[in-house]
């Protein structure tokens, strides 16, 4: 339990002090009891299990891709704490505006495994999230989604709703003009947006030192007169606390918050990337020791809330579930000609109907040919 503070978290870890906010050290030892999040042991265990779950989905997605049963996929390995924390903090009335590497948050926001497999398996159906509200699909053009979050924030205020928009972006994304326009607009309109930069050290092959000369990414908040903080993104407890405070800040009309979550992409950029071209195994090994699941596990074991052997069992159970879901997914109905033409417009132009008809005529002809 945290003590009552005189300074807010954002004052104490002001980005101009260039101090990273963390609760645990790399070995899972609590080094900052003062800011320990308001979480029961049960909640922490739930988060720990969920990180395992998300990681298992992620690893299996990579393997399905390797087996040729899915297409390009961006591994989340090593970054699970961030999305998991966001997912647990988010309320139903909040919005999730993803980049594409926060699987854990997607799952917690209500994406089903079927949605996930559909999307990365190459179908737009996977971006519908029929069972989940207030949830935008993946935004491929880097950083463009951040502006949507500002508009959503504006709309919530306009409609006197108390929701918060959670928007994700990578370190590379901070170089885009849209990053700037989004944070600037959010600042001047004072919209309830929590921007989360997953600084995983690389944009494909380009290290963050080649993205910007600024001393941190969190400090960019100063340029917009908004609140900012740098957090150890592999420290689940710190992430949970920071996002909780940020959401509260935004929800109570104090304006947007920029969180830089410092982490590492332990896998490849996507399944078609080869990290050995641009980084060393030493660097990778160094970060392996900071793995978010490893660290929270050490904390739990130390506190006698978890046993060494439990992980394997858990993962085995998850694997089964996921495999079952994947088999289900593989039975999805085939893509149909209607799917090509019928979703672009609310009122489909005649022209498109004619194009569809011409394609159908051809397909019919083709059928008669063989």
């Amino acid at each position: 339990m945290s003590k009552k503070k005189t300074k807010s978290l954002f004052q104490e870890y002001h980005p101009l002090d260039y101090q990273q906010f963390r609760i645990m050290d790399d070995l899972g030892k609590i080094v900052n009891q003062d800011w320990f999040p308001d979480l029961t042991d049960a909640k922490i265990i739930e988060a720990y299990k969920f990180m395992h779950y998300a990681r298992t989905v992620d690893l299996m997605a990579v393997s399905y891709q390797r087996q040729g049963r899915m297409f390009t996929y961006p591994p989340n390995l090593g970054q699970e704490a961030i999305g998991t924390a966001a997912g647990f903090v988010m309320r139903p009335e909040d919005w999730l505006i993803p980049a594409f590497r926060e699987l854990s948050a997607w799952l917690l926001k209500g994406a089903t495994l079927n949605d996930i497999f559909l999307y990365w398996g190459g179908s737009e159906e996977g971006s519908k999230f029929s069972g989940a509200k207030n949830f935008l699909p993946s935004s491929v053009p880097i950083a463009s989604q951040l502006i949507h979050a500002v508009g959503i924030g504006y709309a919530m205020q306009y409609n006197k709703q108390k929701g918060v928009a959670f928007a994700f972006v990578g370190d590379g994304g901070t170089s885009q003009g849209d990053f700037h326009e989004a944070l600037n607009l959010a600042g001047v309109w004072n919209t309830p947006v929590v921007f989360i930069i997953q600084n995983n050290q690389f944009a494909i092959s380009v290290p963050v030192a080649k993205q910007t000369a600024s001393k941190s990414l969190a400090v960019k908040s100063v340029a917009y007169g908004i609140t900012g903080i740098q957090v150890d993104g592999n420290d689940y407890l710190a992430m949970h606390r920071a996002i909780t405070e940020a959401a509260e800040h935004a929800r109570t009309s104090n304006g947007p918050v920029l969180i830089e979550a410092v982490t590492f992409r332990s896998g490849a950029h996507t399944t078609s990337d080869d990290p050995s071209l641009y980084r060393t195994t030493e660097e990778e090994d160094k970060w392996k020791l900071k793995d978010p699941i490893l660290r929270l596990g050490k904390y739990l074991i130390e506190k006698n809330l978890w046993q060494e052997g439990q992980d394997e069992e858990l993962v085995k159970k998850y694997k089964k579930e996921i495999d079952a879901a994947f088999f289900e997914y593989e039975k999805s109905p085939a893509y149909e000609i209607n799917d090509v033409f019928q979703h672009l417009y609310h009122d489909t132009p005649v022209d498109l109907k004619q194009q569809q008809a011409s394609m159908e005529r051809f397909l019919n002809w083709e059928r008669t040919q063989s």
Partner: protein, 325 residues
Amino acid sequence: MKVMNMVQAINDALKLKLKDDPNVLTFGEDVGVEGGVFRVTQGLQKEFGERRVFDTPLAESGIVGAAVGMCVAGLRPIVEIQFSGFVYPAFNQIVSHVSRMRNRTRGKYNIPMVIRMPYGGNIRALEHHSESMEALFGHVPGLKVVIPSTPYDAKGLLISAIESNDPVIYMEPKRIYRAIKQEVPEEKFSIPIGKGKILQEGNDVTVVTYGAMVREVQRALPAAKKDGIGVELIDLRSIYPIDKDIIRESVRKTGRLLVVTEDHATYGVGAELMAIANEEAFLNLEAPPTRLSGFDVIPPLPKGEHLYFQRPERIYYELQKIARY
């Protein structure tokens, strides 16, 4: 009925829809306090307040992108781009999100957004203030693109655009913002998107045009009439979807097509309409479908405008050539 120019008619449509629907809001650079550099939004902030009608930072990507977010959250934003020449910073948002969000989410989220922008030239303006790049938008799947040529159409088309659940690029021929006055009903009425209009019937040559060029063609008609050329004049009104029916029927009748546009010829609107004439009325063609379009160069600054923009004389010159073919 009230007599209005195009600026007033657009203002009237905005006012009407702001009254009508609490989800409608409008914003852009200088749109609020000043009422827009062309005064199209004059008086709206006063009437509807700063939450619904407001000034934004100078950031077109931000303006359009924020509107995308508002749409998915249930609002119906109308944004103003100060001049069409400044829409390019927002091009990524338009091509990657405005036009695609619905398809991407299989209809879960509509984008009922209107992007208004004055366009077109021959107004003695600085660089980037004279372009007619409607074909760029027409080529992007997922958008609808309309261009009015009269105050009446401006109001009716804008109301349709605002009520459309699909995103509409609404381009305003600024050259005739105040040039034409007309009786326009004060109540709500709408003109369907995707339908052209026959402004004059004739049997010899079909002329298809839109926006400020309608008036220029009309100025060429007396000379054509004197020559005994029966011109069927069509105002296209929608750049996408295109009213193929109206083109087909007319060209089947006249056998001759002249497209008059302000935009650049190559990969422009003229080419598409010529292609449609081929696809829809080939056997009726008595002369090659023709375009009188802008040259494939940057529109000159004011001192060179007379050598670039369409004039009635040139339209007449092309008309008689095709009539005589």
